[in-house]
């Protein structure tokens, strides 16, 4: 049994004929770091909501740790296992003090107060927001707010965190802070990360990339495997590639280079003494 299993899942929103998700079949293991990419309306957010039981498929089955998301009695357990962070940093925070906000989830789960205290402190330390625990959330930057939202989920001790374009509204440093926090949760705590994004340079940071197109999975593999077909990515799927790869393409160099460091190394090797003064 895998951690998360989708078997032949199809989903249409009420009163629509279109299928937002069509016949998805996939497994995700505990501890994976997966990015999900795809054009607007390709089904990414729907996929996310199917993961934690916010939506339940009429056809097929989604299970997390062996529990079907259709099992009403286990709903709370599911919400605790799979946490979600959304796009807008301003409407995910409920309390007027950072630490109260982080305590909100475990309180709802009925965790004893003394344990809540340790969980809140640990969660805030993990995302680097402990010094801000007594601050008012509205005084924080967007990246800091998103990290508080992540801490709130962390305090519920989830197995999986779904980030639905959680960095779309952040400045470059905020984006990096959130990405670093998420990587740390994945590496140090083995938390499964599902990272939805339109930034291709973020997507290639994951270990596995899932590409959705009109509700179906069109590619599923390592970043290099998924981005190998440049023409398909840029023409068929409405996406693009990181600038390092775009540069290689336009130079006529046949190499799927997805990161800046790798690009600098590769160019240095290609240039040799050419271009040095």
């Amino acid at each position: 049994m895998s951690f998360i299993e989708f078997s032949n899942v199809t989903y249409s929103y009420p009163d629509t004929k279109r299928k937002a998700i069509e016949n998805i079949h996939l497994t995700i293991e505990q501890g994976e770091f997966i990015s999900v990419i795809g054009h607007n309306g390709s089904g990414k957010s729907t996929f996310a909501k199917l993961l934690n039981g916010l939506l339940v498929p009429p056809e097929g089955c989604v299970s997390v740790s062996g529990i079907s998301t259709a099992d009403e009695e286990k709903r709370l357990n599911l919400l605790q296992q799979v946490g979600m962070v959304f796009q807008n940093p301003d409407n995910q925070i409920v309390a007027s003090v950072v630490e109260e906000d982080v305590a909100f989830g475990p309180e709802n789960l009925g965790v004893p107060p003394e344990e809540i205290r340790t969980r809140v402190d640990d969660a805030l330390k993990t995302v680097g927001m402990y010094e801000f625990r007594l601050k008012a959330p509205h005084n924080l930057s967007g990246g800091q707010k998103q990290r508080v939202a992540i801490a709130g989920i962390l305090a519920m001790q989830p197995k999986c965190i779904v980030m639905d374009e959680s960095t779309a509204m952040l400045d470059p440093i905020g984006r990096k802070e959130v990405m670093d926090a998420v990587k740390k949760l994945n590496r140090e705590f083995g938390i499964t990360i599902i990272y939805i994004t339109h930034f291709m340079n973020e997507a290639v940071d994951a270990d596995r990339v899932i590409l959705l197109d009109h509700g179906s999975i069109c590619a599923d593999g390592t970043p290099k495997e998924v981005f190998a077909d440049y023409d398909a990515i840029t023409r068929e799927y409405g996406l693009d590639v990181p600038q390092s790869y775009e540069l290689m393409k336009q130079l006529g160099v046949n190499a799927c280079i997805l990161g800046e460091e790798e690009c600098i190394l590769h160019l240095t090797r290609l240039l040799g003494e050419n271009g040095k003064a």
Binding site: G38, L170, L239, D240, G252, V253, E260, T268, K276
Partner: protein
Amino acid sequence: MALDDINLTIRAGETLAIIGHTGSGKSTLITHLNGLLKAQSGTVIFEGKDIWADKKELKNIRFKIGLCFQYPEYQLFEETVYKDIAFGPKNMGLDEKEIDRRVRQSLAYMDLPESYLERSPFDLSGGQKRKIALAGILAMQPDILVLDEPTAGLDPAARNNLFDLIRSYKEQSGTTVVFVSHSMEDVANLADRIVVMNKGKIAMEGAPEEVFQHADELLAIGLNVPAITKIFLGLQKNGYPFQTVYTVEDAVKILKPLIGGDTLDA
């Protein structure tokens, strides 16, 4: 203070990007442009006149300066996409036929089929909502487009489509465009000039090639330089005295003559 002592001139016909850390005052600044917010001190002059001088004029100014909000949810409220896009043109007092023409044209600009017109704007994906919000502003055919993070949530094809649209719209009508963005790559590709905000003040101002020269200062205030610029800074460190670039296009111009191309493999 959300904004402090801002002195800014926006030139007719330019494409101005506003960048800055979250909470630096970008949205506050641009909501002053069409009088959605009124500053406690100071003035906003549009075409030589204080926009608050005549309250009645202010309404017309809002048709001339089309402002698209950072979060499309705050802009969409009608029960159908059609009514939402038609809202602005209707307020301008245009006749039904012209409204209809503009609604369909704006939707087509956003690459969405007409079947969307009867849908509820709330039953759309995040990026689709953004497209409807943008279409609603375009339908007013404003003299100045003010777009708050217009590409956030758009897929790369939609983002490129919007940029092409802005370029051709400018070419036809000489529109002035002011946009806020967190993507340094987008800013380098589209802007003639950049204003950098930091804690409610203007920290820097200039053409992309001027502003992006200050990589360290930008990093210190929560920003960055485009990825391609980072690659060139790395090459410079490795002993290549290249001039710094900000777009892939310019990078190719420098590197192409130095690299054989075609037959090279990894």
